[in-house]
C-alpha cells in the first residue's frame, strides 16, 4: 500500500529452509521414552520430569475437543511428529557463536538488526531450543532475568517454580497438557519490584524442520510495580506435511505491575497453532495481550486475564486474518475475581475467500463482586461472499453492581467500493489493502510503533496474494 514505508521484502518472508543436522533428536512419535529423553538431555530435576509424566497421562486421557472446535484437529497425527530437535541446550550469548545456518535464518528474518535498533533483549529459538539469548547488561544489573525455560527451572527454581503451571494448570485443555509433557524453549522472565523495562524483550520462534512440533513454554513474572513488554514473532517454511505449534504462556503481574504481551503470528499455512495464554493480575496490576494472527492453517487461541486483585485490569486487542484454507479461531477470556476490576476486549477479524474466522469470548463476573466493568467489541470484515465468520460471545455476568457493554459488527468490502477505489487509480490489491488497513487502523494505533509498521506491512503482503 502507498502510505506505509516501502520495505523491499519477498512475499513469503519466512518461507525458506536450511538443511541442518541435529545433535539431539527424540525421534518420531510420542511415548514415555520421548519424555524421558527430553528430561535427560535437559538434565532436569525429578519434579520437572514428574510434571511431564503426569501431563502426558492427562493429554492421553483428554478427548480432542471436536465437539465445539474444528474437526480439522483430527488431522493432527501425533505419532508422526518429532517432539524434540536441537543442536544443544545452551544458547549462545553472541551471534558469532550461533551455528551458521541458524544465524543465517535469523539474519534473513531481521532479528539481529531489530535487536540493535530497539530491543532490550532477544531470545531466538530454532526448533526446540534457543540458539541465541541475550539481554542488555544494565537490565541484568537491575536484577532482571531473561532466560530460556530450561535455564530458568534449573538456575532459579525458587522464583519460577512457585508460578510454573499455576496460571494454566496441566489439565486446562488437551493442548496445555501436551505442552506440559514435552515443553522445550520459550522464555522465563522475572522483573524485580519497581523495575520498568523500557524497551521490549523479544522472542523469535522459528520452525525449520519438517514433521515437527514446537512446544515452547513461557512464564513472565512482573514483581510489584514492575513493567515489561514482551514481543514474540513466529515463522516456518511451507511444508507439504503438517507442523504443530502448541505453546503455553503464563503471565503473573503482581501488585501494581504491568505486562504487555505482543504476538505477531505468521506461521506458514501448514501449521496447527494451538496455544494457551493466560495472565494473572493482582491488585491494581494490568495485563494486556496484543495478539495478531495472520498465518497458520488452524489457530485456536483465546488469551485470558484472571483479575484476582482489586482494581486489576485486563485487556485483549486482537486482529485475525484468515485466507483460503485458513481458520482463525480466536477470542478472549476475562475472569473477574475481585471488585473494581475492568476488562476490555477488541477483536477484529478479516476473512478472505474461503478463509474462516471465529470469535469466542468469555467474560465472567460473579454476583458477589462490585464495580466491575467489561467492554467487548467484535468486528468482522468479509472480503468476499464465500468468507465465513462466527461469533460466540459468552458473557456470564451475575449481579447488578457491574456493567458490561457489548458491540459486534459484520461488514463487507463491496465490489462497488473496490471499483470506486480502482477508478482513482489504485490496483485491486492496493484497494483491498487500503480497505483492510482502514478496518484495523483504529486498533493498530493502540499498538507500539515498530509493531504497527510491521503489522501493516504484513497485511499488505497478505493482500497482494489475495487477488486474482
Amino acid at each position: 500500500m502507498a502510505t506505509t514505508p516501502d520495505i523491499n521484502i519477498e512475499r513469503d518472508q519466512g518461507n525458506f529452509h536450511y538443511d541442518t543436522t541435529y545433535e539431539y533428536d527424540a525421534g518420531v512419535g510420542l511415548n514415555d521414552q520421548t519424555i524421558d529423553y527430553i528430561s535427560k538431555v535437559k538434565e532436569e530435576d525429578e519434579w520437572v520430569h514428574d510434571f511431564r509424566r503426569k501431563a502426558l497421562k492427562i493429554f492421553r486421557d483428554k478427548p480432542t475437543p471436536t465437539h465445539w472446535a474444528s474437526k480439522d484437529l483430527e488431522n493432527i497425527h501425533y505419532d508422526k511428529i518429532r517432539y524434540y530437535l536441537s543442536k544443544g541446550q545452551r544458547p549462545s550469548r553472541t551471534w558469532d557463536e550461533v551455528p551458521e545456518e541458524v544465524k543465517n535464518t535469523f539474519e534473513r528474518l531481521g532479528i539481529p538488526e531489530k535487536e540493535r535498533a530497539y530491543l532490550a533483549g532477544v531470545e531466538a529459538q530454532f526448533d526446540s531450543e534457543a540458539s541465541y539469548s541475550n539481554m542488555k547488561e544494565e537490565l541484568a544489573k537491575q536484577g532482571v532475568i531473561f532466560v530460556g525455560s530450561t535455564e530458568g527451572l534449573m538456575k532459579y527454581p525458587e522464583i519460577f517454580r512457585k508460578w510454573f503451571g499455576k496460571v494454566i494448570p496441566i489439565g486446562d485443555n488437551k493442548f496445555s497438557a501436551l505442552n506440559s509433557a514435552v515443553f522445550s524453549g520459550g522464555s522465563f522472565i522475572y522483573v524485580p519490584p519497581g523495575v520498568k523495562v523500557k524497551q521490549p524483550l523479544q522472542a523469535y520462534f522459528r520452525i525449520n524442520a519438517e514433521n515437527f512440533g514446537q512446544f515452547e513454554r513461557t512464564l513472565i513474572i512482573a514483581d510489584e510495580g514492575a513493567e515489561v513488554t514482551y514481543m514474540e514473532g513466529c515463522t516456518a517454511p511451507k511444508f507439504e506435511t503438517t507442523t504443530l505449534h502448541s505453546a503455553v504462556v503464563e503471565l503473573v503481574a503482581l501488585k501494581g505491575a504491568k505486562i504487555q504481551y505482543i504476538t505477531v503470528q505468521n506461521w506458514s499455512a501448514n501449521v496447527f497453532n494451538l496455544v494457551t495464554k493466560r495472565g494473572l493480575a493482582m491488585e491494581d496490576a494490568e495485563v494486556k495481550w496484543i495478539d495478531c494472527n495472520i498465518g497458520s492453517r488452524l489457530t485456536m487461541k483465546y488469551p485470558g486475564v484472571v483479575m484476582r486483585g482489586e482494581g486489576a485490569r485486563g485487556e485483549v486487542l486482537s486482529i485475525a486474518l484468515a485466507h483460503d484454507g485458513q481458520h482463525q479461531d480466536t477470542g478472549a477470556k476475562m475472569v473477574h475475581a475481585a471488585d473494581k476490576t475492568a476488562s476490555n476486549i477488541i477483536s477484529k477479524s478479516i476473512s478472505i475467500g474461503q478463509g474462516r474466522s471465529t470469535y469466542r469470548g468469555i467474560v465472567a463476573m460473579p454476583k458477589h463482586l462490585k464495580g466491575c466493568k467489561n467492554n467487548t467489541e467484535c468486528d468482522a470484515l468479509l472480503i468476499n461472499t464465500n468468507s465465513r465468520t462466527d461469533t460466540y460471545p459468552a458473557i456470564t455476568v451475575r449481579g447488578e453492581q457491574n456493567t458490561v457493554q457489548h458491540e459486534a459488527s459484520v461488514s463487507k468490502v463491496s465490489a462497488e467500493q473496490i471499483f470506486y477505489m480502482m477508478q482513482r487509480g489504485l490496483s485491486e490489491e492496493q484497494a483491498m489493502s487500503l480497505s483492510v488497513n482502514g478496518f484495523v487502523n483504529d486498533l493498530i494505533r493502540e499498538f507500539p510503533m515498530e509493531y504497527s509498521v510491521e503489522l501493516k506491512r504484513l497485511i499488505d503482503l497478505e493482500m497482494e496474494g489475495s487477488v486474482g
Binding site: T3, Y420, M422, Q423, G425, L434, S435, G438, D442
Partner: protein
C-alpha cells in the same frame, strides 16, 4: 489525438442492451454536457468507459488520446487519465480523505519519483479552501457520514488533486443546494483549460448556467439524438425532452 473519441459503443447489462451505437467526441480543452431523461444510459456510459465489470462492451471503441481503453482494468483506465465523479460515491470506512488521495497519487508515480508530503498537503489545503471544504475533512473517512453535497464536493476535490486528462461528472449537481452548486461550478471552472476535457452528465439545465458548456448533447434510449450549443440546454428546459428528442438527430448542430 487530443480527444476522447467514443465510436459506436454497444453496451449490455444482464443481456439487455443499454448503449446503442453510442458515439461522441470530446476534444481536450472543451466542456460538453450530456443530457437526457432518467434511464437512458448516461451512468452506463460513464461506468462502461471506466471499465466496470458489470457492463459488457459488445462492440465499439473508446480512444483516449488515441489509446483504446476498452478492455483495460479500471485502475489502468484511471491512470491513463480518465476520471469519473460518481453519481453515488462509495464510502470507505477507516480510510481518510488525505490518505486516500495520497494513495491514488502514489499509484501514479513513475519509477524513481517520490511522493512529497509537504507539497501534497499544501495543494490539498488550497483545493479544499476553494471548494469550501473544512480542513478537518482531511481526517474524515472517505464519504462516511457525508451529506449529499459534501460527497459531491469531495469528488471534485479528488478530481482537482488527480488532474485527469478527461473527466466525466455524473449528475454532480443532483442533491446540491444552490450555494453548493455555485461552489462546485466555480471549482470546475478553475480546472477548465487546454489540458482537460469534461463531460458533464446532468438532466437539468441548472448547472449549465454556471458551467457554460461548449456543446450540449441530448441522449435518448442509449444514443445521442441531438447535439448543439449551450442554447440547446435552454430549449430542453423550456420544451422538455420529448419535443426536443422528437426532432431528427443533428438538426441543430
Amino acid at each position: 489525438m487530443n480527444t476522447l473519441e467514443i465510436k459506436n459503443l454497444n453496451v449490455t447489462i444482464d443481456g439487455q442492451r443499454i448503449l446503442k451505437d453510442f458515439s461522441l467526441t470530446l476534444p481536450k480543452g472543451e466542456v460538453h454536457a450530456l443530457m437526457g431523461p432518467n434511464g437512458t444510459g448516461k451512468s452506463t456510459l460513464a461506468k462502461a468507459l471506466s471499465g466496470h465489470e458489470d457492463y459488457e462492451i459488445e462492440s465499439g471503441e473508446a480512444l483516449l488520446d488515441g489509446e483504446d481503453i476498452i478492455g483495460m482494468e479500471p485502475d489502468e483506465i484511471a491512470r491513463a487519465g480518465l476520471f469519473m465523479a460518481f453519481q453515488y460515491p462509495s464510502e470507505i470506512p477507516g480510510v481518510t480523505i488525505a490518505n486516500f488521495i495520497r494513495a491514488a497519487l502514489t499509484a501514479r508515480l513513475n519509477e524513481g519519483e517520490t511522493f512529497r508530503a509537504p507539497d501534497f498537503y499544501k495543494e490539498l489545503y488550497a483545493r479544499m479552501d476553494e471548494l469550501k471544504i473544512d480542513r478537518k475533512f482531511t481526517s474524515r473517512f472517505v464519504n462516511e457520514g457525508f451529506s449529499g453535497g459534501e460527497k459531491k464536493r469531495c469528488e471534485i476535490l479528488q478530481m482537482a488533486m488527480l488532474k485527469p486528462r478527461y473527466a466525466i461528472m455524473d449528475e454532480t449537481d443532483s442533491g446540491l443546494d444552490i450555494d453548493a452548486l455555485k461552489i462546485v461550478a466555480e471549482g470546475v471552472n478553475k480546472m477548465r483549460g487546454p489540458d482537460l476535457g469534461i463531460l458533464i452528465i446532468t438532466h437539468y439545465q441548472r448547472l449549465l448556467n454556471y458551467i457554460v458548456p461548449d456543446k450540449v448533447h441530448v441522449m435518448a434510449d442509449g444514443a445521442i439524438v441531438r447535439s448543439g450549443g449551450p442554447e440547446l440546454a435552454l430549449e430542453l428546459e423550456e420544451k422538455g425532452y420529448e419535443s426536443v428528442t422528437a426532432e431528427p438527430a443533428g438538426a441543430s448542430s
